[in-house]
């Protein structure tokens, strides 16, 4: 058999089948591989909800519009946080991150918009290995908003900040006419310090690294989806997982665990984070379905609505890429802490194929895990 490519099968069937694959198919596949590597193009004329869902459309908007226009060496890294050099200081950088919170409803089981704002900001600093120093918070308030509601949100922020030991140190308030905002929006900025050279960096990811997830997937997204009331589902035991993770990340680093990269799995879920890592590192990530921690209620919601927990948002979970020899130690340490009680090794980093994420299914097959395209909409078929 002198053909270059092999068609499905085993044994000699493959050799027989290989003759059937003609070169045109190979060319088509190679062209697709090329297209995938190209820079994404923003094709839409108007912003749709997909652009905010954290998946492919968000990614395209960020790289093709913001990244393009505002391009500079720091922004171009497109990290959860930027690290700025401090004049005269060589072993320490200033980590800066910013985030907006527009959740509806404002209050949901397990948390509220205020707690999300504090924890989310801290987490964006923490996953870069930074120590959070302070948070700024800007409020956009809709005319007519109950002061009691605002008070409840701000008191919740206070409690979250106290728990985390990170103060809200400055802020701003604007009011817009009724109907121009949905009750209240919060924009935060987090500032922290990070040791240089950075220990947590995408270029440190190497084939053979192990992928660790700090706990069960999809609690926050499912909770908010149900709280919104659109799908008419009730689950007594479902809670948002909103939680500050800087204690966990600090413990990992203090313990000398060789963490190469971390990211918190928020919008777009674990699948999207893994795809971002695979693409940024130019490597593949392979995960094992049986190892993925998911609570029963989230599975229930996912089954009923036909969505995949891998794409549902979290607000207190991180994905860590850890050197192979330290992986089990990382999991043990996570499990010893309240933030990571259900931590698990979920997969590993491979050299090829570049930029792709696979899953070994519990059923014994494999499939590609793509980035979220648009919102995770419930489906009927």
């Amino acid at each position: 058999m002198t053909e270059t490519v092999v068609e499905p099968g085993s044994g000699a069937a493959i050799n027989a089948a290989s003759a059937r694959i003609s070169d045109p198919e190979q060319r088509v596949l190679e062209r697709i591989a090329e297209i995938r590597k190209r820079k994404p193009m923003l094709r839409e004329d108007a912003i749709t909800m997909s652009h905010g869902a954290g998946g492919k459309a968000s990614h395209t908007l960020v790289t093709a519009l913001f990244g393009e226009i505002l391009s500079n060496p720091v922004l171009d890294q497109l990290g959860d946080q930027a690290v700025l050099a401090l004049p005269g200081v060589h072993n320490m950088g200033l980590a800066v991150t910013t985030d907006s919170f527009v959740v509806s409803p404002l209050f949901f089981p397990g948390g509220d918009i205020g707690e999300l704002a504090v924890n989310g900001t801290i987490n964006d600093l923490a996953v870069g290995g930074a120590t959070p120093l302070g948070i700024s918070a800007a409020f956009i308030l809709e005319e007519g908003l109950d002061v009691a509601t605002l008070r409840r949100v701000v008191e919740s922020m206070r409690r979250a900040a106290d728990r985390a030991g990170v103060n809200v140190v400055t802020g701003d308030t604007k009011v817009v006419p009724r109907g121009k905002a949905d009750q209240l929006f919060i924009t935060t900025t987090g500032v922290g310090v990070v040791a240089l050279p950075q220990r947590i960096a995408i270029h440190r990811v190497v084939p053979g690294d192990v992928v660790v997830l700090s706990g069960a997937m999809g609690d926050h997204g499912s909770t908010v989806m149900l709280a919104r009331g659109d799908v008419d589902l009730e689950a007594d035991n479902l809670r948002s997982d909103t939680m500050a993770l800087h204690g966990l990340t600090a413990a990992l680093l203090a313990d000398g665990i060789d963490v190469h990269f971390m990211r918190d799995a928020t919008r777009g879920g674990v699948a999207t984070v893994l795809n971002e890592i695979a693409q940024a590192a130019g490597m593949a990530v392979a995960i094992d379905e049986a190892s993925l921690p998911v609570h029963d209620e989230v599975r229930g919601v996912a089954e009923i609505l036909g969505i995949d927990p891998l794409y549902i948002a979290n607000e207190g979970k991180l994905v860590a890429i850890v050197a192979k020899e330290d992986a089990l130690r990382a999991v043990d340490l996570m499990r010893s802490r309240p933030e990571g009680g259900e931590a698990a090794v979920i997969g590993e980093v491979l050299a090829d194929p570049e930029g792709m994420v696979f899953m070994h299914t519990g059923f014994g097959g494999t499939r590609v895990v793509d980035m979220l395209i648009g919102d995770p909409l419930p489906r009927i078929c």
Binding site: E3, L29, T48, M49, D230, G300, E303, E342, F363
Partner: protein, 404 residues
């Protein structure tokens, strides 16, 4: 989860796959799963990995979202833009492209488009907004149509007059006939649509065995159901039988659900013809509201453009749906037609044959190569990059599994 997890067991799957491989012999089997839900299961669980290369699953026309022609999507968008309208539809439909954007784009442009999980949710919205016209864009096969019918009956009974149905319900038998009538078709048998059959039963599929001499096995939606269905089709052929069998007895009665059929008949009648994306016009393949429900019929109450938008000429979805062409053989595959900018039905939904091939094709070939390497045979002249994917597969199996 009961009645689900038992049918996802990997050990049983291996056993069944081994049996299928053993019985497949050297024949090239082509079995079509009619239903998009089955296609979804096949990809979600990686079922094709478990099957030998000579057992091919052909992904059929049974995705009610993908088959909606562009013109009908445009009509829906036009209604959504009418003043005072709250437009409701299932989440699946939101991203389906019309000739100028999707419902998601219409929403961005100011239309009040809302996703619902059930037609009853649309009814609730109608009750809560008596000053608005609430339109439910109904899609789906016989599985879904009874729920629209019951919702309409309830609206009538309760005197809710501001609920309108834009009916795109379709029936499964006519497109199956269209596929079976295709002269270049080469299929060995069909996996029948399990959830349609809960309503219509298994008898409507007897024309496939009687007229076309192809076996049908109505199967469930868990991965073991599908493997067992494949095995049952092979057994039929090997034993010289050609029957409609029911693998999904736990929910499907041979006669379906008589109450649901009665409700369907009360609310709907057959349309003389309906256009299917990729398959063209098929007569008596869809449902419309009976005249008694004209007041609730969005197509009669609103002025819909009703402009037919031809499938792009270069698009060869029809051939792909029939299993005549492989996705990569289509003229626009991977160039003009991609998952981000789909042209044809097969690329629209992630379950479509083309979208699946676009996403998985390169990898599955790498995987095939690994099988060769694993069996100790090396194809000569193996000089391209995809071979690395083979390593991926092997390493994947070696991942340490952490049990919870």
């Amino acid at each position: 989860m009961k009645f689900a997890d038992e049918f996802r067991d990997a050990d049983l799957a291996r056993a069944l796959a081994a049996r299928i491989a053993g019985e497949a012999g050297d024949k090239h089997w082509k079995i079509m799963e009619v239903c998009g839900g089955h296609t979804h299961t096949i990809f979600k669980y990686g079922i094709e990995d478990l099957l030998p290369s000579n057992v091919e699953l052909v992904h059929g026309p049974g995705c009610p979202v993908c088959v909606i022609p562009m013109g009908r999507v445009d009509d829906g968008i036009a209604v959504a833009h009418e003043p005072g309208v709250i437009f409701t539809c299932f989440g699946d439909l939101m991203r389906v492209p019309g000739s100028d954007g999707s419902l998601l784009d219409a929403k961005a442009a100011g239309a009040d488009v809302r996703m619902v999980y059930s037609p009853l949710d649309a009814l609730k919205i109608a009750q809560q907004n008596p000053d608005k016209k609430v339109v439910f864009y109904a899609i789906g096969f016989e599985t879904t149509a009874p729920s629209t019918a019951l919702t309409l009956l309830r609206a009538k009974a309760e005197g809710i007059r501001n609920l309108f149905v834009f009916c795109n319900h379709v029936t499964i038998i006519p497109p199956m006939k269209a596929i079976l009538d295709s002269p270049d078709l080469r299929l060995d048998g069909f996996l029948g649509p399990g959830h349609v059959s809960t309503v219509v039963g298994i008898r409507p599929f007897e024309f496939v065995t009687n007229t076309y001499n192809k076996p049908v096995v109505v199967v469930g939606f868990e991965p073991l159901d599908i493997l067992q269905g494949v095995h049952m089709i092979m057994q039929q052929i090997q034993e010289g039988r050609c029957e409609v069998e029911n693998q999904y007895r736990r929910v499907v009665h041979d006669d379906g659900n008589p109450k649901a059929l009665e409700v369907l008949a009360r609310v709907f009648k057959l349309r003389s013809h309906f256009e299917w994306r990729g398959l063209g016009f098929i007569s008596q393949s869809a449902l419309e509201l009976r005249d008694e429900f004209a007041d609730h019929d969005a197509e009669k109450v609103f002025s819909v453009p009703g402009v037919r938008v031809a499938d792009p000429k270069a698009c060869q979805c029809g051939e792909v749906l029939k299993g005549v062409l492989k996705p990569w053989e289509c003229k626009v595959f991977g160039t003009a037609c991609t998952p981000e900018t789909p042209i044809g039905t097969c690329m629209v939904s992630s379950e479509g044959a083309c979208a699946a091939y676009y996403n998985f094709g390169r990898y599955s070939r790498a995987r095939d190569r690994e099988r060769v390497l694993a069996s100790g045979e090396r194809p000569a002249g193996n000089g391209n990059g995809t071979a690395n994917g083979a390593v991926a597969e092997r390493d994947l199996r070696a991942i340490p599994v952490q049990t919870r």
